[in-house]
Symmetry: C2
C-alpha cells in the first residue's frame, strides 16, 4: 500500500461508495466485480475506479475483475469499519432524534452510546434505549464512556462552546450539523455536514440537462 | 466554458464547497482570493482548485488571485443557485421535520412549498407555514405547484412506490434519504443521501492518524 497521506478527500469519499457497492454485490451473490461495474454504479469512469483501488496494492486480475469479499474487507479495514466506534450525539431536537435511531450508523460500526440535551423534559428519558443525559455532564461522561466520535446537532449559537468542551474531554473527531464553522485544534478531525450540497448537485443536473453528455 | 459533460461528480461537489468559501470571503470583505486560500479552506491542493476552476474559462490573474464576487456568481450560476427551485418533501417524521425547517435550503434558493405524510394526525397541520398534505394527493399537487425537486424522508419499504408516483407527476430530481436503492427512469436525477459517509471519513482519519501526512 502506498502512503496514506497521498489519499485525497475525494478518494476517501469514493471508497465509502465502493464499500457500499461491494456490500450489495456480496449480498447479491457475486464473487467478482469489474471496474466497469463499480464505475457504472457510482457514475464514475472505470479508469478512476482502477486508479483509486491501485492505492491499496494490486487487486483484481485483468479480465476477471476484483474479488468482491476480499476487496470489501480491505476497503472496510482502510476506512476503519472493521471495528466499532463509540459515538455520542449532542442536541436531541428533530435532527438529533432522527440520527439517534438511524440504522445505517450501527451497521458500519458506529454505536451511539450517549445522547445529551439541555432540556429538563428530555434529560432522563431515552431513544431506542440510548439515555439522554444533561449537557452539563459532557466532560465526565465522554471520558468515562471512552467516546471516540461526537455528532453535534445543536443550534448554531451554542455549537462553538460545546465543541470546546468536547475537545477538552479528549475527543478527536466531530461531525457537525450546526450551520456554523467551528474552530477546533489541529489534532481534532472535524467534518461539517451540509445537507444543501446534495440538492445543489441536483440543481446542477436540472440546470444543465439540456446540454449533451453524462449529465443530460 | 468547456463542455459540461466533462465535469465529474467530485468536481460538482467541490464547486459547492468553493461557493461556500467564496460566500464567506465576500462576507468578510475580501475582493480577491488565491487558489492557495481556497485550497486550504477545503483541504485540497492549489493545483486541484486551479484545475477545477479552469473548466469555467480563464478566471484570476497570476499573482492577484480570483475576483471573489465574480467567481462566486459564476459558480452559483453553474450550480443553478441563481434562481429558485420549488421543492416538496415527503415523509414528515423526525428527519423530515428537521429538513422542513432547515434554513440552509432556502438560502441557496431551494424553497420547500409542500410537505406530505400519510398520518391523519399530521395532515392539515403545518411546519414553519408549510402545509402538510395527504400523501394520496402527490400526483395532483406536485404538478399544480410546479415542483422541480422532491426530498424523500420515508421508511424504506414505502419509498419505491412513492418514487414512482413522483416520477409520474413529472418531477425530474429526487433526493432520497431512505436506506434503499430506488429505481427511476434514466431521465430522472436521483441522489441518495447517506449520513454514515461523513462518519466513515472521520473513522478513516482516526484509524490512520498515526500515519504521517495530511490526515495525521
Amino acid at each position: 500500500m502506498q502512503n496514506i497521506r497521498k489519499i485525497s478527500d475525494s478518494t476517501i469519499r469514493r471508497l465509502s461508495l465502493y464499500y457500499r457497492a461491494l456490500s450489495n454485490s456480496e449480498k447479491d451473490g457475486y464473487f467478482t466485480v469489474s471496474s466497469q461495474d463499480l464505475a457504472k454504479k457510482e457514475r464514475l469512469t472505470p479508469a478512476q475506479v482502477r486508479k483509486d483501488l491501485s492505492f491499496f496494492g494490486s487487486f483484481g486480475t485483468r479480465g476477471l475483475g476484483y474479488p468482491v469479499k476480499e476487496l470489501k474487507e480491505k476497503i472496510g479495514s482502510i476506512l476503519g469499519l472493521n471495528r466499532s466506534w463509540n459515538v455520542a450525539l449532542i442536541g436531541v431536537g428533530n435532527l438529533g432524534s432522527a440520527l439517534a435511531s438511524y440504522k445505517e450508523f450501527q451497521k458500519q460500526g458506529f454505536h451511539i452510546k450517549l445522547l445529551f440535551d439541555n432540556d429538563p423534559k428530555k434529560i432522563g428519558s431515552s431513544i431506542d434505549g440510548i439515555p439522554i443525559l444533561d449537557i452539563k455532564q459532557i466532560g465526565t461522561q465522554l471520558k468515562q464512556n471512552k467516546i471516540d466520535l461526537v455528532i453535534m446537532t445543536l443550534p448554531g449559537h451554542t455549537a462553538q462552546g460545546v465543541a470546546e468542551e468536547v475537545v477538552r474531554a479528549g475527543v478527536k473527531a466531530i461531525l457537525n450539523f450546526a450551520p456554523v464553522s467551528l474552530k477546533v485544534p489541529e489534532d481534532v478531525f472535524l467534518r461539517n455536514e451540509n445537507m444543501a450540497i446534495e440538492l445543489e448537485y441536483l440543481s446542477f443536473c436540472l440546470k444543465n440537462r439540456n446540454n449533451p453528455g453524462k449529465h443530460a
